[in-house]
Subunit: 225 residues, 2 copies
Amino acid sequence: MPQAPDHKEPSGNTDGRLARGEATKDRVLDAAERCFAAHGFAAVTIRQIAREAEVTLGVVSFHGGSKELLFGTVLARRTATLNALRTDALNALQGRGGITIRDLVDAYLTPYLEIASRGDPQWRAYAQLIARIVSDDQYYMQVRDLYDPVARDYIAEIRRIHPNASAKAVATVLTLTVASMLSIVASRVRIAGLSGEPASESALDYRSTLVDFCTGGIEQALAAH
Amino acid sequence: MPQAPDHKEPSGNTDGRLARGEATKDRVLDAAERCFAAHGFAAVTIRQIAREAEVTLGVVSFHGGSKELLFGTVLARRTATLNALRTDALNALQGRGGITIRDLVDAYLTPYLEIASRGDPQWRAYAQLIARIVSDDQYYMQVRDLYDPVARDYIAEIRRIHPNASAKAVATVLTLTVASMLSIVASRVRIAGLSGEPASESALDYRSTLVDFCTGGIEQALAAH
DNA sequence: AAACTATCTGAACGTCCGTATAAAAAGTCA
DNA sequence: TGACTTTTTATACGGACGTTCAGATAGTTT
Protein backbone atom coordinates (compact mmCIF):
# COMPACT_ATOMS: atom_id res chain seq x y z
CA MET A 1 0.00 0.00 0.00
CA PRO A 2 1.46 3.31 -1.05
CA GLN A 3 1.76 6.10 1.45
CA ALA A 4 1.49 9.82 0.99
CA PRO A 5 4.71 11.72 1.59
CA ASP A 6 5.16 13.04 5.09
CA HIS A 7 7.40 16.02 4.79
CA LYS A 8 7.36 16.68 8.48
CA GLU A 9 5.71 15.31 11.57
CA PRO A 10 2.57 17.41 12.04
CA SER A 11 1.29 16.23 15.43
CA GLY A 12 2.31 17.91 18.67
CA ASN A 13 3.96 20.73 16.78
CA THR A 14 3.46 24.41 17.27
CA ASP A 15 4.58 25.45 13.81
CA GLY A 16 1.65 27.20 12.21
CA ARG A 17 2.94 26.39 8.77
CA LEU A 18 2.50 22.69 9.37
CA ALA A 19 -1.09 23.20 10.49
CA ARG A 20 -1.81 25.18 7.36
CA GLY A 21 -0.08 22.58 5.26
CA GLU A 22 -2.21 19.84 6.82
CA ALA A 23 -5.34 21.85 6.06
CA THR A 24 -4.30 22.22 2.43
CA LYS A 25 -3.51 18.54 2.25
CA ASP A 26 -6.99 17.73 3.51
CA ARG A 27 -8.50 19.97 0.86
CA VAL A 28 -6.50 18.12 -1.79
CA LEU A 29 -7.50 14.71 -0.45
CA ASP A 30 -11.15 15.74 -0.23
CA ALA A 31 -11.11 17.02 -3.78
CA ALA A 32 -9.39 13.87 -4.99
CA GLU A 33 -11.96 11.77 -3.17
CA ARG A 34 -14.83 13.57 -4.88
CA CYS A 35 -13.20 13.38 -8.30
CA PHE A 36 -12.23 9.71 -8.08
CA ALA A 37 -15.68 8.83 -6.76
CA ALA A 38 -17.39 10.64 -9.60
CA HIS A 39 -15.24 9.51 -12.51
CA GLY A 40 -12.82 6.77 -11.49
CA PHE A 41 -9.06 6.74 -11.28
CA ALA A 42 -8.10 6.86 -14.94
CA ALA A 43 -10.64 9.47 -15.96
CA VAL A 44 -9.51 12.00 -13.38
CA THR A 45 -6.61 14.37 -14.07
CA ILE A 46 -4.37 16.02 -11.51
CA ARG A 47 -5.44 19.34 -12.96
CA GLN A 48 -9.09 18.56 -12.24
CA ILE A 49 -8.25 17.77 -8.66
CA ALA A 50 -6.26 20.97 -8.35
CA ARG A 51 -9.16 23.00 -9.71
CA GLU A 52 -11.61 21.22 -7.41
CA ALA A 53 -9.38 21.84 -4.40
CA GLU A 54 -8.72 25.43 -5.50
CA VAL A 55 -4.99 25.02 -5.39
CA THR A 56 -2.36 25.21 -8.10
CA LEU A 57 -1.11 22.19 -9.93
CA GLY A 58 2.11 21.70 -8.01
CA VAL A 59 0.37 21.64 -4.65
CA VAL A 60 -1.40 18.42 -5.49
CA SER A 61 1.87 16.67 -6.12
CA PHE A 62 3.46 18.33 -3.10
CA HIS A 63 0.83 17.00 -0.69
CA GLY A 64 -0.39 13.95 -2.52
CA GLY A 65 2.67 12.62 -4.27
CA SER A 66 2.08 10.73 -7.48
CA LYS A 67 -1.41 10.07 -8.77
CA GLU A 68 -1.27 6.43 -7.68
CA LEU A 69 -0.07 7.43 -4.24
CA LEU A 70 -2.85 9.97 -3.92
CA PHE A 71 -5.42 7.37 -4.86
CA GLY A 72 -4.07 4.91 -2.31
CA THR A 73 -4.14 7.55 0.40
CA VAL A 74 -7.75 8.43 -0.38
CA LEU A 75 -8.76 4.78 -0.26
CA ALA A 76 -7.03 4.09 3.04
CA ARG A 77 -7.96 7.29 4.82
CA ARG A 78 -11.36 6.27 6.15
CA THR A 79 -11.04 2.56 6.69
CA ALA A 80 -10.06 2.83 10.36
CA THR A 81 -13.16 4.86 11.18
CA LEU A 82 -15.51 2.55 9.33
CA ASN A 83 -13.92 -0.54 10.84
CA ALA A 84 -14.28 0.94 14.32
CA LEU A 85 -17.99 1.61 13.79
CA ARG A 86 -18.56 -1.96 12.67
CA THR A 87 -16.49 -3.43 15.46
CA ASP A 88 -18.32 -1.32 18.04
CA ALA A 89 -21.66 -2.44 16.68
CA LEU A 90 -20.54 -6.06 16.83
CA ASN A 91 -19.23 -5.69 20.36
CA ALA A 92 -22.51 -4.17 21.44
CA LEU A 93 -24.28 -7.25 20.09
CA GLN A 94 -21.87 -9.61 21.77
CA GLY A 95 -22.53 -7.91 25.08
CA ARG A 96 -26.02 -9.28 25.12
CA GLY A 97 -26.93 -12.80 24.03
CA GLY A 98 -29.14 -14.35 21.38
CA ILE A 99 -27.60 -12.79 18.31
CA THR A 100 -29.59 -13.29 15.10
CA ILE A 101 -28.54 -13.05 11.49
CA ARG A 102 -30.64 -9.93 11.24
CA ASP A 103 -28.71 -8.35 14.09
CA LEU A 104 -25.43 -9.03 12.33
CA VAL A 105 -26.63 -7.74 9.00
CA ASP A 106 -27.98 -4.61 10.57
CA ALA A 107 -24.80 -4.01 12.54
CA TYR A 108 -22.65 -4.44 9.44
CA LEU A 109 -24.73 -2.40 7.01
CA THR A 110 -26.00 0.49 9.08
CA PRO A 111 -22.72 2.37 9.62
CA TYR A 112 -22.11 2.43 5.91
CA LEU A 113 -25.65 3.49 5.04
CA GLU A 114 -25.62 6.25 7.60
CA ILE A 115 -22.29 7.44 6.37
CA ALA A 116 -23.45 7.40 2.78
CA SER A 117 -26.66 9.23 3.56
CA ARG A 118 -26.63 11.59 6.43
CA GLY A 119 -23.06 12.42 7.09
CA ASP A 120 -20.43 14.51 5.53
CA PRO A 121 -20.74 14.66 1.74
CA GLN A 122 -17.11 13.61 1.75
CA TRP A 123 -18.09 10.32 3.34
CA ARG A 124 -20.75 10.00 0.72
CA ALA A 125 -18.12 10.39 -1.96
CA TYR A 126 -15.99 7.78 -0.27
CA ALA A 127 -18.90 5.35 -0.20
CA GLN A 128 -19.40 5.85 -3.90
CA LEU A 129 -15.72 5.37 -4.55
CA ILE A 130 -15.73 2.03 -2.74
CA ALA A 131 -18.82 0.96 -4.65
CA ARG A 132 -17.00 1.83 -7.84
CA ILE A 133 -13.75 0.04 -7.27
CA VAL A 134 -15.26 -3.11 -5.81
CA SER A 135 -15.79 -4.46 -9.31
CA ASP A 136 -12.15 -3.88 -10.20
CA ASP A 137 -9.85 -6.44 -8.62
CA GLN A 138 -6.81 -4.36 -9.37
CA TYR A 139 -8.00 -1.50 -7.20
CA TYR A 140 -10.13 -3.42 -4.76
CA MET A 141 -7.14 -5.37 -3.53
CA GLN A 142 -5.93 -2.09 -2.03
CA VAL A 143 -8.81 -1.91 0.45
CA ARG A 144 -9.48 -5.60 0.80
CA ASP A 145 -6.78 -6.16 3.38
CA LEU A 146 -8.10 -3.25 5.39
CA TYR A 147 -11.69 -4.46 5.59
CA ASP A 148 -11.21 -8.21 5.71
CA PRO A 149 -10.25 -8.55 9.41
CA VAL A 150 -13.57 -7.07 10.55
CA ALA A 151 -15.42 -9.08 7.94
CA ARG A 152 -13.83 -12.18 9.43
CA ASP A 153 -15.22 -11.28 12.85
CA TYR A 154 -18.69 -11.15 11.37
CA ILE A 155 -18.10 -14.41 9.54
CA ALA A 156 -17.14 -16.04 12.82
CA GLU A 157 -20.43 -14.92 14.35
CA ILE A 158 -22.42 -16.17 11.38
CA ARG A 159 -20.71 -19.53 11.68
CA ARG A 160 -21.69 -19.74 15.34
CA ILE A 161 -25.29 -19.43 14.23
CA HIS A 162 -24.88 -21.80 11.28
CA PRO A 163 -22.12 -24.18 12.36
CA ASN A 164 -22.72 -26.62 9.53
CA ALA A 165 -22.43 -24.13 6.69
CA SER A 166 -19.29 -24.39 4.57
CA ALA A 167 -16.63 -21.70 4.78
CA LYS A 168 -17.14 -20.88 1.14
CA ALA A 169 -20.88 -20.51 1.51
CA VAL A 170 -20.50 -18.12 4.42
CA ALA A 171 -17.88 -16.07 2.60
CA THR A 172 -20.14 -15.98 -0.43
CA VAL A 173 -23.19 -14.70 1.39
CA LEU A 174 -21.18 -12.02 3.16
CA THR A 175 -19.78 -10.89 -0.18
CA LEU A 176 -23.29 -10.82 -1.62
CA THR A 177 -24.42 -8.77 1.35
CA VAL A 178 -21.66 -6.26 0.77
CA ALA A 179 -22.44 -6.14 -2.93
CA SER A 180 -26.08 -5.45 -2.16
CA MET A 181 -25.16 -2.72 0.25
CA LEU A 182 -22.85 -1.06 -2.24
CA SER A 183 -25.37 -1.26 -5.03
CA ILE A 184 -27.88 0.68 -2.95
CA VAL A 185 -25.41 3.49 -2.64
CA ALA A 186 -24.11 3.31 -6.17
CA SER A 187 -27.09 2.68 -8.39
CA ARG A 188 -30.26 4.06 -6.96
CA VAL A 189 -31.00 5.47 -10.38
CA ARG A 190 -31.96 2.06 -11.68
CA ILE A 191 -34.39 1.41 -8.85
CA ALA A 192 -36.06 4.71 -9.56
CA GLY A 193 -36.35 3.90 -13.24
CA LEU A 194 -37.81 0.47 -12.62
CA SER A 195 -40.32 1.51 -9.97
CA GLY A 196 -41.46 4.64 -11.74
CA GLU A 197 -40.93 6.71 -8.63
CA PRO A 198 -38.21 9.29 -8.11
CA ALA A 199 -35.06 8.16 -6.30
CA SER A 200 -35.04 8.72 -2.58
CA GLU A 201 -32.70 11.29 -1.17
CA SER A 202 -31.24 9.00 1.42
CA ALA A 203 -29.92 5.47 1.12
CA LEU A 204 -31.38 4.91 4.57
CA ASP A 205 -34.83 4.81 2.98
CA TYR A 206 -33.83 1.48 1.50
CA ARG A 207 -32.41 0.20 4.76
CA SER A 208 -35.30 -1.98 5.83
CA THR A 209 -35.68 -3.59 2.40
CA LEU A 210 -31.95 -4.10 2.18
CA VAL A 211 -31.67 -5.63 5.65
CA ASP A 212 -34.67 -7.87 4.95
CA PHE A 213 -33.16 -8.97 1.67
CA CYS A 214 -29.75 -9.79 3.08
CA THR A 215 -31.15 -11.45 6.19
CA GLY A 216 -33.51 -13.63 4.24
CA GLY A 217 -30.82 -14.35 1.70
CA ILE A 218 -28.25 -15.48 4.23
CA GLU A 219 -30.72 -17.62 6.14
CA GLN A 220 -31.99 -19.27 2.99
CA ALA A 221 -28.53 -19.90 1.58
CA LEU A 222 -27.17 -21.36 4.79
CA ALA A 223 -30.28 -23.24 5.85
CA ALA A 224 -29.91 -26.03 3.33
CA HIS A 225 -26.72 -27.32 4.89
CA MET B 1 -27.08 5.58 -28.30
CA PRO B 2 -24.17 6.01 -30.66
CA GLN B 3 -23.81 3.75 -33.62
CA ALA B 4 -20.76 2.43 -35.34
CA PRO B 5 -20.27 3.70 -38.85
CA ASP B 6 -21.68 1.50 -41.58
CA HIS B 7 -19.64 2.17 -44.63
CA LYS B 8 -21.61 -0.24 -46.70
CA GLU B 9 -24.39 -2.72 -46.24
CA PRO B 10 -22.69 -6.05 -45.51
CA SER B 11 -25.61 -8.49 -45.69
CA GLY B 12 -26.58 -10.29 -48.86
CA ASN B 13 -23.52 -9.03 -50.66
CA THR B 14 -21.06 -11.06 -52.67
CA ASP B 15 -18.22 -8.59 -52.37
CA GLY B 16 -15.42 -10.42 -50.58
CA ARG B 17 -13.99 -7.16 -49.35
CA LEU B 18 -17.06 -6.46 -47.28
CA ALA B 19 -16.89 -9.89 -45.69
CA ARG B 20 -13.27 -9.35 -44.81
CA GLY B 21 -14.08 -5.92 -43.49
CA GLU B 22 -16.78 -7.35 -41.23
CA ALA B 23 -14.33 -9.91 -39.91
CA THR B 24 -11.82 -7.20 -39.09
CA LYS B 25 -14.53 -5.16 -37.46
CA ASP B 26 -15.41 -8.09 -35.25
CA ARG B 27 -11.80 -8.49 -34.26
CA VAL B 28 -11.70 -4.81 -33.30
CA LEU B 29 -14.91 -5.04 -31.30
CA ASP B 30 -13.76 -8.19 -29.54
CA ALA B 31 -10.45 -6.59 -28.63
CA ALA B 32 -12.22 -3.46 -27.42
CA GLU B 33 -14.56 -5.57 -25.34
CA ARG B 34 -11.67 -7.31 -23.64
CA CYS B 35 -9.79 -4.08 -23.01
CA PHE B 36 -12.77 -2.13 -21.69
CA ALA B 37 -13.74 -5.05 -19.46
CA ALA B 38 -10.27 -5.33 -18.02
CA HIS B 39 -9.50 -1.66 -17.47
CA GLY B 40 -12.54 0.52 -18.00
CA PHE B 41 -13.29 3.12 -20.63
CA ALA B 42 -10.94 5.89 -19.61
CA ALA B 43 -7.95 3.68 -18.90
CA VAL B 44 -7.99 2.07 -22.34
CA THR B 45 -6.27 3.65 -25.32
CA ILE B 46 -7.08 3.16 -28.95
CA ARG B 47 -3.54 1.99 -29.46
CA GLN B 48 -4.02 -0.77 -26.87
CA ILE B 49 -7.12 -1.94 -28.69
CA ALA B 50 -5.29 -1.90 -31.99
CA ARG B 51 -2.45 -3.97 -30.55
CA GLU B 52 -4.91 -6.40 -28.96
CA ALA B 53 -6.79 -6.77 -32.25
CA GLU B 54 -3.53 -7.01 -34.20
CA VAL B 55 -4.45 -4.21 -36.54
CA THR B 56 -2.92 -0.83 -37.13
CA LEU B 57 -4.14 2.30 -35.41
CA GLY B 58 -6.24 3.68 -38.20
CA VAL B 59 -8.24 0.48 -38.58
CA VAL B 60 -9.79 0.90 -35.15
CA SER B 61 -11.17 4.29 -36.06
CA PHE B 62 -12.18 3.10 -39.50
CA HIS B 63 -14.34 0.27 -38.15
CA GLY B 64 -15.17 1.56 -34.71
CA GLY B 65 -15.49 5.29 -35.18
CA SER B 66 -14.65 7.44 -32.21
CA LYS B 67 -13.73 5.93 -28.87
CA GLU B 68 -17.14 6.76 -27.40
CA LEU B 69 -18.87 5.25 -30.40
CA LEU B 70 -16.79 2.10 -30.12
CA PHE B 71 -17.67 1.77 -26.45
CA GLY B 72 -21.37 2.19 -27.14
CA THR B 73 -21.24 -0.42 -29.88
CA VAL B 74 -19.53 -2.90 -27.57
CA LEU B 75 -22.12 -2.32 -24.87
CA ALA B 76 -25.08 -2.73 -27.16
CA ARG B 77 -23.79 -5.64 -29.21
CA ARG B 78 -24.89 -8.49 -26.93
CA THR B 79 -28.01 -7.17 -25.27
CA ALA B 80 -30.42 -8.69 -27.76
CA THR B 81 -29.01 -12.18 -27.25
CA LEU B 82 -29.10 -11.94 -23.48
CA ASN B 83 -32.59 -10.50 -23.48
CA ALA B 84 -33.78 -13.32 -25.70
CA LEU B 85 -32.38 -15.95 -23.35
CA ARG B 86 -34.14 -14.39 -20.40
CA THR B 87 -37.39 -13.95 -22.25
CA ASP B 88 -37.31 -17.55 -23.43
CA ALA B 89 -36.68 -18.75 -19.89
CA LEU B 90 -39.59 -16.69 -18.65
CA ASN B 91 -41.89 -17.92 -21.38
CA ALA B 92 -40.99 -21.49 -20.54
CA LEU B 93 -42.06 -20.83 -16.97
CA GLN B 94 -45.28 -19.18 -18.02
CA GLY B 95 -46.15 -22.19 -20.12
CA ARG B 96 -46.61 -24.26 -17.00
CA GLY B 97 -48.29 -22.95 -13.85
CA GLY B 98 -47.29 -22.43 -10.22
CA ILE B 99 -44.34 -20.12 -10.73
CA THR B 100 -42.28 -19.53 -7.62
CA ILE B 101 -39.84 -16.77 -6.76
CA ARG B 102 -37.09 -19.33 -7.04
CA ASP B 103 -38.13 -20.16 -10.58
CA LEU B 104 -37.98 -16.52 -11.56
CA VAL B 105 -34.62 -15.94 -9.92
CA ASP B 106 -33.18 -18.99 -11.56
CA ALA B 107 -34.56 -18.06 -14.96
CA TYR B 108 -33.14 -14.56 -14.71
CA LEU B 109 -29.71 -15.44 -13.36
CA THR B 110 -28.80 -18.62 -15.13
CA PRO B 111 -28.27 -17.27 -18.67
CA TYR B 112 -25.84 -14.71 -17.36
CA LEU B 113 -23.95 -17.16 -15.19
CA GLU B 114 -23.66 -19.67 -17.99
CA ILE B 115 -22.49 -17.00 -20.35
CA ALA B 116 -19.94 -15.72 -17.87
CA SER B 117 -18.61 -19.17 -17.10
CA ARG B 118 -18.80 -21.71 -19.82
CA GLY B 119 -19.17 -19.81 -22.99
CA ASP B 120 -17.03 -17.79 -25.22
CA PRO B 121 -14.35 -15.85 -23.33
CA GLN B 122 -15.71 -12.85 -25.19
CA TRP B 123 -19.01 -13.24 -23.40
CA ARG B 124 -17.08 -13.51 -20.18
CA ALA B 125 -15.42 -10.19 -20.93
CA TYR B 126 -18.79 -8.66 -21.68
CA ALA B 127 -20.14 -9.87 -18.34
CA GLN B 128 -17.24 -8.27 -16.56
CA LEU B 129 -17.74 -5.08 -18.49
CA ILE B 130 -21.37 -4.86 -17.41
CA ALA B 131 -20.38 -5.57 -13.81
CA ARG B 132 -17.93 -2.73 -14.07
CA ILE B 133 -20.15 -0.06 -15.51
CA VAL B 134 -23.18 -0.83 -13.37
CA SER B 135 -21.71 1.28 -10.60
CA ASP B 136 -21.28 4.23 -12.92
CA ASP B 137 -24.54 5.96 -13.73
CA GLN B 138 -22.99 7.82 -16.62
CA TYR B 139 -22.18 4.64 -18.50
CA TYR B 140 -24.88 2.41 -17.11
CA MET B 141 -27.59 4.59 -18.60
CA GLN B 142 -26.39 3.36 -21.99
CA VAL B 143 -27.47 -0.22 -21.32
CA ARG B 144 -30.28 0.47 -18.89
CA ASP B 145 -32.84 1.12 -21.57
CA LEU B 146 -31.85 -2.10 -23.29
CA TYR B 147 -32.30 -4.34 -20.27
CA ASP B 148 -35.17 -2.67 -18.48
CA PRO B 149 -38.03 -3.99 -20.65
CA VAL B 150 -37.21 -7.60 -19.82
CA ALA B 151 -36.62 -6.68 -16.19
CA ARG B 152 -40.12 -5.25 -16.17
CA ASP B 153 -41.54 -8.54 -17.35
CA TYR B 154 -39.91 -10.26 -14.40
CA ILE B 155 -41.14 -7.54 -12.07
CA ALA B 156 -44.69 -8.14 -13.30
CA GLU B 157 -44.37 -11.83 -12.45
CA ILE B 158 -42.98 -11.07 -9.01
CA ARG B 159 -45.89 -8.77 -8.35
CA ARG B 160 -48.33 -11.50 -9.30
CA ILE B 161 -46.82 -13.59 -6.53
CA HIS B 162 -46.61 -10.70 -4.08
CA PRO B 163 -49.50 -8.42 -5.06
CA ASN B 164 -49.28 -6.30 -1.93
CA ALA B 165 -45.60 -5.38 -2.22
CA SER B 166 -44.87 -1.79 -3.18
CA ALA B 167 -43.48 -1.00 -6.59
CA LYS B 168 -40.35 0.43 -5.02
CA ALA B 169 -39.76 -2.65 -2.91
CA VAL B 170 -40.04 -4.94 -5.92
CA ALA B 171 -37.74 -2.77 -7.99
CA THR B 172 -35.28 -2.68 -5.12
CA VAL B 173 -35.10 -6.44 -4.66
CA LEU B 174 -34.64 -6.99 -8.38
CA THR B 175 -31.82 -4.49 -8.41
CA LEU B 176 -30.26 -6.23 -5.42
CA THR B 177 -30.59 -9.53 -7.24
CA VAL B 178 -28.79 -8.13 -10.26
CA ALA B 179 -26.10 -6.61 -8.06
CA SER B 180 -25.56 -9.96 -6.38
CA MET B 181 -25.32 -11.71 -9.72
CA LEU B 182 -22.81 -9.22 -11.06
CA SER B 183 -20.70 -9.38 -7.94
CA ILE B 184 -20.31 -13.12 -8.34
CA VAL B 185 -18.86 -12.58 -11.78
CA ALA B 186 -16.80 -9.55 -10.92
CA SER B 187 -15.33 -10.15 -7.51
CA ARG B 188 -14.78 -13.79 -6.85
CA VAL B 189 -11.34 -12.89 -5.58
CA ARG B 190 -12.83 -11.55 -2.37
CA ILE B 191 -14.80 -14.71 -1.65
CA ALA B 192 -11.68 -16.75 -2.10
CA GLY B 193 -9.77 -14.51 0.27
CA LEU B 194 -12.44 -14.65 2.94
CA SER B 195 -13.07 -18.37 2.79
CA GLY B 196 -9.42 -19.36 2.60
CA GLU B 197 -10.09 -21.58 -0.40
CA PRO B 198 -8.97 -20.88 -3.94
CA ALA B 199 -11.48 -19.25 -6.26
CA SER B 200 -13.57 -21.58 -8.36
CA GLU B 201 -13.03 -21.65 -12.06
CA SER B 202 -16.66 -21.22 -12.92
CA ALA B 203 -19.22 -18.76 -11.64
CA LEU B 204 -21.70 -21.62 -11.94
CA ASP B 205 -20.16 -23.13 -8.80
CA TYR B 206 -21.76 -20.30 -6.88
CA ARG B 207 -25.08 -20.66 -8.63
CA SER B 208 -26.96 -22.55 -5.94
CA THR B 209 -25.77 -20.25 -3.17
CA LEU B 210 -26.58 -17.24 -5.27
CA VAL B 211 -30.03 -18.46 -6.20
CA ASP B 212 -30.74 -19.37 -2.58
CA PHE B 213 -29.58 -15.99 -1.42
CA CYS B 214 -31.65 -14.01 -3.90
CA THR B 215 -34.73 -16.18 -3.45
CA GLY B 216 -34.63 -15.97 0.32
CA GLY B 217 -33.88 -12.28 0.11
CA ILE B 218 -36.79 -11.46 -2.16
CA GLU B 219 -39.23 -13.53 -0.16
CA GLN B 220 -38.12 -12.03 3.12
CA ALA B 221 -38.17 -8.47 1.82
CA LEU B 222 -41.61 -8.78 0.25
CA ALA B 223 -43.20 -10.95 2.93
CA ALA B 224 -43.60 -8.18 5.45
CA HIS B 225 -46.16 -6.34 3.34
C1' DA C 1 17.42 41.75 12.50
C1' DA C 2 19.09 37.41 9.80
C1' DA C 3 18.89 32.46 8.96
C1' DC C 4 16.01 28.84 8.13
C1' DT C 5 12.14 25.92 6.72
C1' DA C 6 7.69 24.74 4.97
C1' DT C 7 4.51 25.97 1.52
C1' DC C 8 3.16 27.57 -2.78
C1' DT C 9 3.63 29.44 -7.67
C1' DG C 10 4.29 29.38 -12.50
C1' DA C 11 6.35 27.51 -16.17
C1' DA C 12 8.35 23.98 -18.52
C1' DC C 13 9.58 18.97 -19.85
C1' DG C 14 8.89 14.93 -22.60
C1' DT C 15 5.27 11.61 -23.54
C1' DC C 16 1.20 9.79 -25.06
C1' DC C 17 -3.44 10.70 -26.33
C1' DG C 18 -7.57 10.70 -29.98
C1' DT C 19 -8.22 11.88 -34.45
C1' DA C 20 -7.48 12.98 -39.32
C1' DT C 21 -5.66 12.14 -43.88
C1' DA C 22 -3.01 11.14 -48.05
C1' DA C 23 -1.44 7.45 -50.31
C1' DA C 24 -0.83 2.44 -50.93
C1' DA C 25 -2.81 -2.09 -51.22
C1' DA C 26 -6.30 -5.43 -52.19
C1' DG C 27 -10.42 -6.87 -54.31
C1' DT C 28 -14.40 -6.37 -57.68
C1' DC C 29 -16.50 -5.63 -61.89
C1' DA C 30 -16.84 -3.95 -66.78
C1' DT D 1 -6.88 -4.76 -68.92
C1' DG D 2 -8.34 -0.42 -66.49
C1' DA D 3 -11.81 2.12 -63.75
C1' DC D 4 -13.72 1.85 -59.31
C1' DT D 5 -14.51 0.79 -54.30
C1' DT D 6 -13.18 -0.89 -49.87
C1' DT D 7 -9.70 -1.63 -46.70
C1' DT D 8 -5.23 -0.83 -44.71
C1' DT D 9 -0.93 1.69 -43.88
C1' DA D 10 2.01 5.22 -42.30
C1' DT D 11 2.44 9.52 -40.61
C1' DA D 12 1.30 13.82 -38.65
C1' DC D 13 -1.10 17.25 -35.69
C1' DG D 14 -2.65 19.83 -31.75
C1' DG D 15 -3.60 19.15 -27.18
C1' DA D 16 -3.68 17.32 -22.58
C1' DC D 17 -1.36 14.45 -19.59
C1' DG D 18 1.81 13.47 -15.09
C1' DT D 19 5.72 15.14 -13.21
C1' DT D 20 9.50 18.23 -12.02
C1' DC D 21 11.75 22.33 -10.31
C1' DA D 22 13.79 26.95 -9.61
C1' DG D 23 12.28 30.58 -7.33
C1' DA D 24 8.86 33.47 -4.74
C1' DT D 25 6.28 33.77 -0.43
C1' DA D 26 5.10 33.26 4.27
C1' DG D 27 5.86 31.76 8.88
C1' DT D 28 9.24 30.29 12.63
C1' DT D 29 13.31 30.36 15.25
C1' DT D 30 17.51 32.39 17.07
